[in-house]
């Protein structure tokens, strides 16, 4: 399902120090450059629609938490006039590494923490890991069910282009239908090693499972799908899929980058006061419907059930299940003691959400730790 009927889109300027090119009132085409980073290594923000620029305002985005960013407001004329002519590449694995890096760099393709992923490939990755059963990621199944061949082709291209030594595709073996489908299709891709996991796992758990130590890179299926579009169709990142979960029903919708969540929910006839943006395990609950779809937003969860937080029962599951054997409860205990937090290795905490997922008392450790990390970083 594609939704692109919105009269206004709000294109987020992801870095505060980016230079905005067009002026208010200017006409921009679909895929016009709206802003770029300073310096030689330029990364660009493209327009996802054609129309006139109305204003630049601040809007909330989901980038590892809800953050306010400047957005360029474009009045959509629905003409979808594109500036650049595009062709298709038959063999994406034959693309030169420099071209590949350039393409993903200019598209400002980032990981969930808004870090540009091209840097990982510049630094010669040895091991590429694709965790299709990432805990709390509802979008992965959609990509595998609908775009499996494109995904496998792109992974193979990533291996060829970047001379990657090892590549692991982790699949939950309980999802037998999907596993069979992958096993049927993976045969010709000899460089991709299929790893069957007993359950959904966080990326940090996958590191433990695979016993990899350094020079590895996790690529999300969302990014692989976008890379396919960039390499195969020479497209820019103007649209993306998001999963909208409402009363256990999942809608996968393709929306323009810069679409407003309130308009998406209205169009889908979804009424709610609160919703969760981001991952199912470590997302953020909010009532702010002004949030704009950015590259890092994967899902919107309308969760009407209120989960009551109980007192810590000292079961130690947060420590035992932590991939790095950290002590989340001690982080909370010493939240105002920066030295102690450092000694307890808070920097190793990747906010993977495993502790929150396993806590029998439903303590929202992940968001508490996120706040502690942010406060101590300042």
């Amino acid at each position: 399902m594609t939704i692109n009927k919105f009269e206004h889109v709000y294109i987020p300027i992801l870095n505060d120090d980016m230079t905005v090119i067009p002026k208010i009132g200017d006409y921009v085409y679909k895929d016009s450059v709206l802003a770029h980073t300073k310096g030689e290594e330029k990364q660009y923000i493209f327009s996802s629609v054609s129309g006139h620029i109305e204003e630049i305002i601040t809007k909330p985005l989901y980038i590892d938490g809800i953050k306010e960013k400047k957005c360029i407001v474009i009045a959509n004329d629905f003409k979808e006039i594109a500036l650049n002519l595009k062709g298709t590449n038959k063999f994406i694995d034959k693309i030169e590494k420099e071209d590949f890096i350039e393409k993903i760099k200019i598209n400002f393709l980032t990981d969930k923490f808004n870090n540009p992923i091209y840097l990982n490939y510049v630094n010669n990755v040895d091991t590429l890991v694709i965790n299709t059963c990432e805990l709390g990621n509802i979008l992965n199944n959609f990509f595998l069910e609908n775009y499996l061949n494109n995904i496998l082709e792109t992974i193979d291209a990533l291996i060829e282009i970047n001379k990657i030594k090892k590549c692991y595709l982790i699949v939950n073996k309980k999802n037998k239908e999907l596993l069979n489908k992958i096993e049927e299709n993976i045969g010709t891709y000899l460089n991709i090693k299929l790893i069957k996991s007993k359950k959904d796992i966080a990326n940090d758990e996958a590191i433990k499972l695979l016993k990899i130590k350094n020079n590895y890179h996790f690529e999300s299926l969302n990014n692989i799908y976008l890379i396919y579009d960039i390499l195969k169709n020479n497209n820019f990142i103007l649209e993306k899929y998001i999963a909208i979960i409402n009363e256990n029903k999942v809608n996968y919708v393709k929306v323009k980058i810069g679409s407003s969540i309130s308009e998406i929910l209205t169009l889908l006839n979804i009424n709610c006061d609160n919703f969760i943006v981001g991952n199912l395990v470590c997302g953020v609950k909010t009532n702010n419907k002004d949030i704009i779809v950015s590259q890092t937003l994967d899902s919107i969860i309308i969760d009407k059930q209120e989960i009551k937080e109980n007192e810590c029962i000292k079961c130690g599951k947060c420590h035992i299940t932590c991939p790095y054997n950290l002590m989340p409860i001690e982080f909370i205990k010493y939240k105002n003691n920066k030295k102690m937090l450092e000694k307890l290795n808070i920097s190793k905490c990747t906010l993977c959400g495993i502790c929150t997922y396993n806590c029998p008392s439903f303590i929202d450790l992940n968001n508490t730790l996120k706040k502690i990390k942010e406060e101590n970083h300042e």
Binding site: G136, I245, N274, I276, L280, V281, C282, G283, V284, K285, I301, D303, E306, I307, E309, N310, I313, K314, C315, G316, K317, H319, I320, N325, M327, I329, E330, M340, E342, K343, L344, G353, T356, Y357, N358, P360, S361, F362, D364, N366, N367
Partner: protein, 268 residues
């Protein structure tokens, strides 16, 4: 208000269900062997405790969202079989009331109550004839004949495996405690291992979710300390040795955790 939308199914309710399921073979076995006697003691322990919990919690009452029911069940299993049913009722009620009053203080109430009961029985020479303090796990062991003693560890090992698979047990405490206990003085301690009382207390009381150490290393330290303290107390023929040691370790658990965290951070 929580932010997450999915959660592992290992919540407090599931933890309680797993603990009860792990006790089912033991309860069934005791019902087969002791028939009505066992049924009376279990019913006299559980029914008043559920009612008391309901009266105290009122609107918030949900049978498995706290550990009161499991705690009552474990308490019942340690009460001498020949105790009058009203003693069982009183102990169960006291257990629930104290657990609710002393919520903030990490005191293992069932252990404390059984120590008090045993001490009273010893001092007043009212120890039931079929009650052997070595066999604290009374519903399973007929102390008079001792015929079923060897079945206790087998059933407990099944419970241990079940709880470990279900991620419901701080198994490091149990293992370290039993191994060290067996190594310290095999001739002295073998009785307690064979009749299952030490294993039962290690699984259900020493590694109690709320009253034991949280971290891997501190769990091992707790287990080792428990084995040492128990062995010392038993070598002095202190009859309540296993329970007193368990109570000491329960009280020391937060301190062991703090010391472990301090030691861990001291290195850096």
């Amino acid at each position: 208000m929580n932010n997450f939308s999915i959660h592992s199914n290992n919540d407090i309710k599931k933890t309680n269900i797993n603990l009860i399921v792990s006790l089912i073979p033991i309860i069934i076995y005791s019902l087969i062997v002791f028939k009505l006697d066992a049924l009376i003691i279990i019913a006299s322990g559980l029914i008043p405790s559920i009612l008391a919990d309901f009266i105290i919690m009122r609107k918030d009452f949900k049978i498995l969202t706290n550990f009161n029911l499991v705690s009552s069940l474990i308490l019942v299993l340690m009460i001498p079989l020949s105790m009058p049913f009203y003693v069982v009722i009183v102990l169960s009620l006291v257990n629930i009331i104290l657990r609710n009053i002393l919520k903030k203080y990490k005191i293992n109430i069932p252990v404390t109550l059984i120590i008090i009961l045993n001490t009273y029985l010893i001092i007043s020479n009212k120890l039931p004839v079929d009650y052997n303090l070595k066999n604290i796990f009374n519903l399973l062991i007929d102390a008079k004949t001792n015929i079923m003693a060897f079945n206790a560890p087998i059933l407990l090992i099944i419970s241990f495996i079940y709880l470990t698979i279900k991620n419901n047990l701080k198994y490091l405490i149990v293992l370290s405690s039993i191994i060290i206990f067996a190594l310290i003085n095999p001739t002295l301690n073998i009785d307690y291992l064979i009749n299952g009382s030490f294993i039962f207390i290690s699984i259900y009381l020493l590694s109690d979710t709320m009253f034991s150490s949280m971290y891997r290393i501190s769990q091992i330290i707790s287990g080792i300390l428990n084995a040492i303290i128990t062995s010392i107390l038993l070598s002095f023929k202190f009859q309540n040795g296993i329970l007193v040691s368990t109570l000491i370790i329960s009280l020391l658990a937060p301190l062991i955790d703090i010391l472990y965290v301090r030691l861990k951070t001291l290195k850096k």
